[in-house]
Symmetry: C2
Subunit: 84 residues, 2 copies
DNA sequence: AAAATATTTAGACATTTGTCTAAATATCTA
DNA sequence: TAGATATTTAGACAAATGTCTAAATATTTT
């Protein structure tokens, strides 16, 4: 729960998720979409991965990232229960 | 959007919202529910207020806080659009 | 095998965040 | 009007966060 809200609390990470919604992307492709360094993107991806929001798979020398939205159900339920 | 995710990214603030869901509370009553200082609670309340998640009304020497869940619709829509 | 490419890890650094104590402001009560 | 109560504001400080450059690891290509 904590790691989910934490992962969502950054505009770059939210933007990464929006892009991954369209299609899977390699770390390099994701880095190319933003004006920050590759190591910084790598760090953001690790936070998203730790929250379960993305998964990664090594494909040769590339690493392909995909979104996993099922963990967001927990957030949805939390918010909905608050709106009750 | 940013201030909303930021406000939600703290367990104490999320807990304050859960309590306010039950009934309106004064700043002092809220402070009594947690093991941190009154100024810290005051600071958390200011962040929630800034995000539009709570509103406050002065009642004599007290300040009564209420939850406002309508701003959460924006978050809900963001998440749902991500789940597509 | 060496060079090139893709990505992460390590370490440094400035900014933001959450907490505290002390002081200020406002309201109520004797 | 004093004193008590409720809350915030101000300022300090440690910890967390986001960024960077340099170096390490792994894979592909020549």
């Amino acid at each position: 729960m904590n790691s989910l809200f934490k992962a969502l609390n950054d505009p770059i990470r939210r933007d990464i998720l929006k892009h991954l919604r369209e299609k899977d992307l390699t770390a390099g492709e994701i880095a190319g979409l933003f004006d920050i360094s590759r190591p910084s993107i790598s760090h953001h991806l690790e936070i998203l991965r730790h929250a379960g929001l993305v998964s990664s798979e090594k494909q040769g020398q590339f690493i392909m990232y995909s979104i996993n939205t099922t963990v967001l159900d927990e957030v949805l339920e939390w918010i909905i229960s608050l709106k009750g």
